[in-house]
């Protein structure tokens, strides 16, 4: 899978994963304390934060695997920095990345408009929810509560990860530092500003 990747793309992906790994960790700690007061639903409305790196990397690099690998690295960085969620977080990262990747794969890695990015956020939400349902033991909660959690997570995935991720990359694109990556190439192959 990595054969077609340039080294600079791989390094870019891992550096972004490091930056977002730190952000993820901050939100994780905030979320944990918050969750102590209102229970596991505390994470749901900010869950989109944890999918953002897969969408950002895929939007810039546009190669199969960018979503799942970047999300996995970000999770690994969270583990490397030391926290008490630990190795389980890497599995969660893989699952979330696969969810986002599935949306991009479904469109054949061709379209990268706002709808596809939002779809990727929704995909990550659904995948991570199924995983959380099993690992977190959500089975004990009533159906209504679980559906509320799922709804909040999907919204958060679409808005924070999809719309937010696009906003971040578009801002970055305007700085001109992304020249040389797939995002600056248009369909015809000529350079965009």
């Amino acid at each position: 899978m990595l054969k077609s990747w340039k080294l600079k793309e791989v390094v870019l992906m891992s550096l972004f994963s490091v930056v977002f790994g730190i952000i993820y960790l901050l939100f994780l700690h905030a979320g944990n304390i918050w969750a102590g007061f209102i229970g596991p639903i505390a994470y749901e409305w900010i869950f989109g934060i944890w999918f953002i790196v897969s969408i950002i990397c895929m939007y810039i690099i546009r190669k199969p695997g960018a979503a799942v690998i970047s999300e996995t690295i970000a999770a690994a960085v969270e583990v490397l920095l030391g926290n008490a969620v630990g190795p389980r977080l890497i599995l969660a990262g893989v699952v979330q990345g696969l969810g986002a990747e599935a949306a991009f794969a479904a469109t054949g890695y061709k379209k990268f408009n706002i709808w596809v990015l939002m779809l990727a956020g929704i995909g990550a939400s659904i995948f991570s929810f199924v995983y959380g349902y099993f690992m977190g033991g959500f089975t004990v909660f009533s159906t209504g509560y679980v559906l509320l959690m799922l709804g909040l997570r999907i919204m958060s995935g679409a808005l924070i990860a999809g719309v937010g991720g696009k906003a971040v990359v578009d801002g970055l694109l305007a700085t001109g530092s992304l020249r040389g990556y797939a995002i600056t190439r248009t369909a015809k192959g000529d350079a965009r500003v």
């Binding site: 390094v11 550096l15 008490a84 190795p87 033991g137 159906t143």
Partner: protein
């Protein structure tokens, strides 16, 4: 003896801990996770030299979180049958439900105990090297993660610099949490733009020094698997089996 956990092969430790967590997810009673949590504590007391102050600091949020799971389960759970154990504020706590709530919160504790064991006894760099040497992680990714990891202090300095630059020009934002969160973008974007440039430079430097990203057979830092790993893995599996078996006795 006291350094056994620190000297364990990181990949083996990672695998064992993952296996423990997945197995725990299948058990839904308060005893299994509780026994695992206590067992993990004992293993750490005997075989590691971790800083218990740091351990406590990391554990506190998870205790709060476990408590959150405990009471939300009691309030929002579906099960409404079985004998009543206590009554508080006109709310009847039923036995099945209490067991569920305890199971969920002990699970949080067991998971965080296992994770802390890994986090506090593993060196990040040797974990990545071990993933590359034992788990066949692509060197392209492994070394890129290491590059990213080495940039951490630089990124931290840059974050402070950007903040100071903003402050110097009077661009500091005050306001409620939402405006402050939206303004994070003003710090995030320069940091990401810097990250793009740094990654490009690092990639060129790696290529200039002959890094091709091909699989290798020899390494400078060798991280091996030894007898110690077998013994420790056996110890963890024993703990897991005892805790799982306990669910059928109690």
């Amino acid at each position: 003896m006291k350094s056994a956990l620190h000297n364990m092969n990181p990949s083996v430790k990672f695998l064992i801990i993952t296996i423990c967590m997945f197995t725990l997810a299948f058990f839904f009673n308060p005893w299994t996770p509780l026994i695992v949590w206590i067992g993990v504590l004992l293993v750490q007391l005997l075989f590691s030299r971790i800083n218990w102050k740091v351990w406590t600091l990391f554990m506190i949020p998870f205790v709060i979180m476990a408590f959150g799971y405990f009471w939300t389960t009691l309030v929002f759970a579906e099960e409404k049958t079985g004998p009543v154990v206590w009554t508080i504020l006109n709310m009847e706590i039923r036995e099945v439900l209490l067991n569920h709530a305890l199971a969920l919160s002990f699970r949080v504790l067991a998971f965080s105990g296992l994770s802390l064991l890994f986090a506090l006894t593993t060196k990040p760099v040797s974990f990545i090297l071990s993933l590359m040497q034992q788990m066949k992680l692509s060197p392209k990714i492994a070394y890129s993660i290491l590059v990213g990891y080495q940039f951490l202090p630089v990124l931290k300095d840059e974050f402070v610099q950007i903040q100071q630059a903003h402050r110097l020009r009077g661009a500091t934002q005050k306001g409620n949490i939402i405006t402050r969160l939206l303004n994070m973008r003003k710090i995030l974007l320069p940091m990401l733009a810097g990250a793009v440039r740094k990654s490009e430079r690092a990639a060129f430097a790696m290529e200039a020094r002959g890094f091709t990203g091909e699989k290798r057979t020899s390494f400078y830092h060798i991280i091996g698997i030894g007898k110690l790993d077998v013994y420790m893995a056996a110890l963890f599996l024993m703990l897991l089996i005892v805790s799982c078996a306990s669910s059928s006795f109690i």
